[in-house]
Structures are given as structure tokens and as C-alpha cells.
Symmetry: C2
Subunit: 135 residues, 2 copies
DNA sequence: GCGGGAGTACTACAAGTGTCGTAGATTCTT
DNA sequence: AAGAATCTACGACACTTGTAGTACTCCCGC
């Protein structure tokens, strides 16, 4: 019953939710020791143990999202991939996954479902005009 | 070394990637037995064992995304949550996760990074005008 | 009235994830 | 230098997810 010796069950191993939470803090900070990141997380209401944050930082490093240098006592971490890169990668994945690669329907749905202010709408229009000008 | 008897490590249990793949097929189909879903997945290049598809359908049902009725021999599944609902929920989660709740920057980034055609841009402009008119 | 095929239920299991505890190393304080 | 405060390394463990095998059930044709 279910010997199951084959090799199944792997995944892509990308940025996970928890790792992203930590990475976001790294993007904001300049110095970024584990303790500082933990404190900033606590400050924004996210309570995690020191070692949990450490685990995330390590995993982020293994996955190539950050790098660390020993600065005296502790390691200091810096993001290797920018927020823009990560967000656009995630957005692209979303487009593929939910809209089969068609980004326009996604934008349309967003524009419809989110309630944007006049100012925001104006910003959209402005950008559209620019894009249109370039072609 | 790490007795660790506490209760940690749970998650929200939401729609997973594999489940979504199957759900997307359900959204398209009318009849939707396990076998049919599997065949349509195969047709689009996604090879999964019958029981794997079954597992996803069951998990989808447990999570409330689909319901099933025994139609003679086999169960027939129908989606309980519409594509629109699911996509907008996922999009909202994305907005929260990546843009701290601000949808406008996400739309802007999409408009910049994806290369939209004139027609698509025209569609955006049209929608914007409508939104603007309502206000 | 039974064998075969379709279908479902149950089990399994590896990798990934969230969450941390503990032990050992290093450094700061007195 | 002893003890305190910090850090990191390593392990641990429950739950999820992707993926599927096996066993049991039910009906159909012979």
C-alpha cells in the first residue's frame, strides 16, 4: 500500500510569503542586521522570534535575494534584487497564472474593481498619454 | 536540542497553484468529471495522473471552491466561486502583499512594464473616461 | 453471478514553509 | 577573567502542496 519510492513532489523554490515580508523590510532599511529587521517587523505589528527572522534571512541569501557581510559583531544584509525587479516578476507570474499571459485584462479588472480617486485616475491618464506618444 | 512541543507552523490554507490550475479548467467546462478535467489538462500539455487530479478536486471541495454531485457513475464538479471573484481576491492579496495596499502603483507599474498595443491602450483610456464620468 | 473497467477513498511521501529552541561562539562589562 | 549579552549554526516539527499508488466498490455485459 503506497510503497512510493519514486521521486515526486518538488517545487520551484521561489520567494515565499514570509521571505517577502522580510525582504520588504530590507528594501527600506539601510543597515539591516537581523535584530534591526526584527525590531522593525515588531514595530509594524509582526511579531516573530529572532531566530525566525534569521531563518528567513538565511533562506533569502540561499535563494540569492540578499547578501550579507560580517560587520563586526553581526552580519549586515543588503537586498541584491530590487523591489521593482521582484514586484514585476511576481506580477508577471500573476498575469500568466490568472490571465493566461494577457496583462491587459488584468489591468482592466484592477481599474474596475479598485476604487481609484480622481488623482489616481489622472495619473493613469497621464501615463497612458505618454505611452501613446511613444508607441 | 529542539524538544519543540509547541503548536506552530500552520497556514491559512488558501487556493494553491495546482488547485488553481484545475479550477481554471472547471471554469471553462460544463460537465466536469474528474476524467474530463484530466483530459482537458492533458490536451493543454499538462500531464497529471487521474488520482492527482482527483486529489485537487477534493481539496478544492474541502476549501469550498467547488461542489460535486454524484451523477450516476461518477461525480460531477461545478465551481462555486467565479473566476472574477477568485481573480479579484488574488489581485487584492497581491496589492496588499507587494504594494502595501496601494493599487494605483501596481497599475502604473503594470502599464509601464508590460508592452501594451495601441488597441489595449485605447481600451484603458476608454475605461478611464468612464470611471471619470461616474466619479 | 462473475470478471473487468471506471470511480472513489485512503495512504504515502518528499520538498517547501512558518515557526522556533538550544548550543556553541564571540564580545562586552565589570 | 568570569559572567552577561549577542550572534549564528543546526535541528526540529507541524502543516501544506504536488504527485501518485493501491485497494475497494459498483455496474455492465456476458
Amino acid at each position: 500500500m503506497g510503497k512510493d519510492t519514486g521521486s515526486r513532489g518538488r517545487r520551484q523554490s521561489e520567494l515565499s510569503d514570509g521571505e517577502l515580508e522580510v525582504l520588504k523590510v530590507l528594501w527600506e532599511g539601510r543597515s539591516n542586521t537581523v535584530r534591526e529587521v526584527m525590531e522593525r517587523l515588531h514595530a509594524s505589528g509582526r511579531k516573530l522570534a529572532y531566530t525566525t527572522v534569521l531563518t528567513f534571512m538565511n533562506r533569502l541569501e540561499q535563494k540569492g535575494y540578499v547578501k550579507s557581510d560580517k560587520a563586526g559583531l553581526a552580519y549586515v544584509y543588503r537586498a541584491k534584487r530590487s523591489r521593482e525587479l521582484v514586484t514585476s516578476t511576481k506580477l508577471r507570474a500573476m498575469v500568466e497564472q490568472l490571465f493566461d499571459g494577457a496583462a491587459a485584462p488584468m489591468v482592466l479588472q484592477l481599474m474596475k474593481s479598485e476604487n481609484f480617486s480622481r488623482d489616481e485616475i489622472e495619473a493613469f491618464r497621464k501615463l497612458i498619454d505618454e505611452l501613446d506618444a511613444e508607441g
